[in-house]
């Protein structure tokens, strides 16, 4: 039983990170029909921005702030203005392909300008174990879980309790009507891109100490976040959160109980099953089909 408990905690911790990444993914989809195939690379890059700041002599806390700010400028503002805006009217597929190219570009740039080797990354949470109900649980898992939950709670509070959040939701659900009732739709869309950039920077900060900073680490993470977003519901923030936690736990349990070789297959088969039997996702609502 102790094994199962440990697996659940570790699974929830990775799942919380998937949830952060998946939430940003669904926000972009809702407000601007952007499928961002570079989302995994978006998580990889901020860690390198922070490492670069530290190499330049900045203390860790300053590097974090700089990394988050740079991430919001590059992955939020520049991404929206330089790539998404010019391509938005062309439809979903060309933009999706352009983000694939962007993923290649980010990966290669990091490899070229930084390093092809994995670099260690300092943890914001102290290492070591604490004892919960007689189980040794790593502080890192707890820390990751707590930070991710706080971020998600903050975001859902923003979306559901504040007028800014209501304006964002209105802009996402029906831009035309939102515009008529005076919501600055463009500004709300930009805000979701900035929030996405903040969330990926936070995810980067949480996950890189565990898996090291490596130029290729975005692929797996991006895929896990896509699966989480779709399983939970493409058009629902709470769906993405549930999907993230579910995939994290499933992945850890599959590694222990199915086979390490086919652990990656379990979330995939789950994904196919969900898409076939409940395409709107476990918590999603069905989107209308236009004829």
């Amino acid at each position: 039983m102790s094994n199962l408990f440990d697996l659940l905690v570790a699974g929830l911790a990775t799942g919380a990170i998937y949830a952060l990444v998946a939430v940003g993914f669904t926000l972009l989809w809702q407000t601007s029909q952007t499928i961002n195939f570079a989302q995994g690379e978006f998580v990889m890059l901020p860690a390198f921005l922070m490492l670069a700041a530290m190499h330049a002599g900045a203390p860790f806390w300053l590097a974090i702030i700089l990394g988050i700010l740079l991430s919001m400028i590059l992955l939020g503002l520049a991404f929206k203005m330089l790539l998404v805006d010019p391509m938005m009217r062309h439809g979903v597929l060309p933009l999706a392909i352009a983000t694939m190219a962007l993923a290649i570009g980010i990966k290669e740039a990091v490899k070229q300008f930084f390093s092809a080797e994995a670099s260690p990354f300092p943890s914001i949470v102290p290492t070591g174990d604490i004892s919960i109900l007689g189980h040794a649980v790593s502080l890192q898992s707890i820390g990751v879980l707590v930070v991710a939950i706080l971020a998600v709670l903050g975001l859902t509070t923003l979306l559901n309790r504040t007028s800014l959040g209501h304006q964002m939701q209105a802009a996402a659900q029906n831009p035309t009507v939102a515009r008529i009732i005076g919501v600055p739709v463009e500004r709300m869309i930009l805000l979701t891109f900035l929030i996405n950039a903040f969330l990926v920077a936070l995810a980067s900060l949480l996950i890189t100490p565990i898996y090291l900073a490596k130029f290729s680490s975005g692929e797996v993470l991006g895929q896990a976040a896509f699966i989480a977003a779709i399983v939970g519901g493409f058009n629902q923030v709470r769906g993405a959160i549930a999907g993230g936690l579910l995939i994290g736990v499933l992945d850890n349990l599959a590694a222990a109980y199915v086979s390490t070789q086919y652990r990656a297959a379990v979330p995939m088969i789950f994904l196919i099953a969900v898409i076939l039997f409940r395409p709107q996702g476990l918590l999603g609502r069905a989107e209308e089909r236009t004829v």
Partner: protein, 332 residues
């Protein structure tokens, strides 16, 4: 098209074909390898162009079908079977698997379909890697023989390049015929408006499955050539990024244009080689070039040409109108 454009087009086509046959004769081994790779990738991209460009079904699994074809060819030819037999098996196998993969397309569309096929691509990669009794696992399969045709060995790079080029020619003719047949028109009806296609009496179910199966079968053909071309295969080249690359080739060349895949494959295979003098930067430049192209023309390179030609035609037509009008005025 004006009267002399057609002979001009045919002459241009013949010149390109002649150049593809003659010019590589004094290429070195590496140049021939790259050109053979272009031919193979063109075949795979043509398959995806049928599925995506003509039938409008997004697939992120074409790389997996290249893998299925490659493993089928590698396993059979290393056990003494001739390549044409292995290729038939590769075609049959990828056709069958592609047909099955078409079923999700009957239920879900667009991005959902993209993710189902993406998941399939990952599952295929896991099978290639983990079923070592069949695929050699991470060590792969080496010493894949190149075929003999009528007693002529194609071990050297140049003869095998002609095998790839010949296969590309056969596939091109087959696809040319297919998209002009009622099938091709049904595919396009499916792409433009599935509901209307159905109301016109097109069996959308059957044609959706067919679009996937035929497109996948061409992926299998490409794989069956890829294995003897590299003479060694392991799971890595057939992971998700190959599917993404093939999708990029189709879109960059121009989805739904007959010559799109040739151009797209040329850019994806040759551009990095031409940019190699930039050393580590070539993939970065490639990525930037793709983004700029898509911002400028989301319908790919052939989309630019298409629009330019349409603009010229309207210009010519309005010039004709102006002439006719002025004649009318002089008559009055």
């Amino acid at each position: 098209m004006s009267g002399f454009a057609r002979p001009l087009k045919i002459a241009l086509g013949l010149a390109v074909i002649a150049a593809l046959i003659v010019v590589p004769m004094n290429f070195n081994r590496y140049g021939l390898f790259i050109l053979s790779q272009w031919a193979v990738m063109s075949i795979a991209a043509m398959g995806l162009n049928l599925t995506l460009g003509y039938a409008g079904q997004v697939s992120l699994a074409q790389g997996a079908f290249v893998g299925i074809g490659a493993y089928a060819a590698a396993i059979m030819t290393t056990h003494g079977w001739p390549l044409p037999a292995a290729m038939l098996v590769a075609i049959a196998l990828s056709f069958a698997v592609g047909w099955v993969l078409g079923y999700p397309a009957l239920r879900v569309q667009h991005h959902y379909l993209a993710f189902v096929t993406l998941a399939f691509s990952t599952l295929a990669f896991l099978v290639f890697r983990n079923e070592s009794w069949l695929t050699g696992g991470i060590y792969g399969i080496s010493n894949i023989p190149r075929p003999h045709f009528f007693g002529i060995a194609t071990n050297k790079p140049l003869p095998f390049y002609y095998v790839c080029l010949g296969s590309l020619a056969i596939v091109s003719l087959a696809v040319w015929w297919l998209i002009r047949s009622p099938w091709g028109r049904a595919f396009m009806a499916l792409r433009e408006n599935p509901l209307r296609a159905q109301s016109l009496g097109i069996d959308t179910r059957r044609y959706t499955l067919m679009a996937f199966a035929i497109g996948s079968a061409l992926g299998g053909v490409a794989g069956a050539l890829y294995a003897p071309l590299t003479q060694y295969i392991d799971p890595v080249p057939f992971n998700l990024s190959l599917s993404l690359d093939l999708l990029m080739m189709v879109i960059v060349g121009g989805a739904g244009f007959y010559f799109g895949p040739f151009l797209g494959a040329m850019i994806a295979v040759l551009l990095p080689e031409w940019l190699r003098f930039t050393e580590g930067y070539y993939l970065m430049l490639y990525a930037v070039a793709v983004m700029l192209l898509l911002i400028w023309s989301p319908t790919g390179i052939l989309g630019i040409l298409d629009r330019a030609m349409a603009a010229r035609r309207t210009k010519a037509a309005s010039a004709l109108r102006a002439v006719a009008k002025s004649r009318l005025e002089t008559v009055q």
